[in-house]
Symmetry: C2
Subunit: 133 residues, 2 copies
């Protein structure tokens, strides 16, 4: 069971690194060198961040990415949502018939409570807060 995927983890690392270098532009090549992360995968990750408005990109030589949002506004919960789908731990396992079952729905209630707690916590975690440690 893993709350974060590598995608999300890479994004967090990249954003922290870029925040440290701002306002300098950072390319996928830089991140590969500095963080030892696989470049092709990193590129996909960065493109996703760009499309979602977290990063601005510059093409061509000396191109790269820069942060758009202040680090305080980049929430871990949103990054998870971006790369892994909305934070939800209780996706129904039975889309068809069994969901009506009275006896098992209490299970979902418990899961939803945990989910709510986790989400509340995750919303409080930002790139800024992670950098303070």
């Amino acid at each position: 069971m893993n709350l974060l995927t590598r995608n999300t983890d890479y994004a967090v690392r990249a954003l922290i690194h870029m925040a440290g270098k701002a306002p300098e532009r950072v390319s996928a090549r830089d991140l590969e060198r500095d963080l030892e992360l696989p470049r092709p995968f990193m590129r996909k990750t960065l493109q996703a961040l760009q499309k979602s408005g977290y990063l601005a990109s510059a093409k061509g030589k000396n191109g790269g990415f820069t942060l758009v949002l202040p680090v305080e506004k980049i929430r871990l919960a949103d990054l998870i949502a971006l790369f892994q789908g909305p934070v939800s731990m209780g996706d129904c396992l039975f889309r068809k018939k069994l969901c009506e079952c009275v006896k098992t729905c209490p299970l979902r209630r418990e899961i939803k409570q945990i989910e709510a707690m986790a989400l509340a916590h995750l919303r409080g975690v930002t790139i800024a807060s992670l950098m303070k440690r």
Copy 2:
């Protein structure tokens, strides 16, 4: 993201159903009929529960399974551990080199906190508590 797998879900359903019928023996065939769960998969699940001491089994005609433990002692956290491994949301994604990285470990700290909250909650959930709803 899903906190429970179908395996765990099936186990919970089966245990609740068996608790309702106790001390009668319940076979995989019964569960297939009453809960409309796939029998071959259910059998594997029941065998796992038996091996772990939750169920007693009787072979032969009119055989089947019966509860061993009182429903108050069957914890959701333990069932999850049985079928999905120990509850842990922050398994390190990088077993090799990168784990030393000072900047990303704060991430794990946050995850560990959430994990602790979730685990505490899950330990309080038992088959008995689920049946009360």
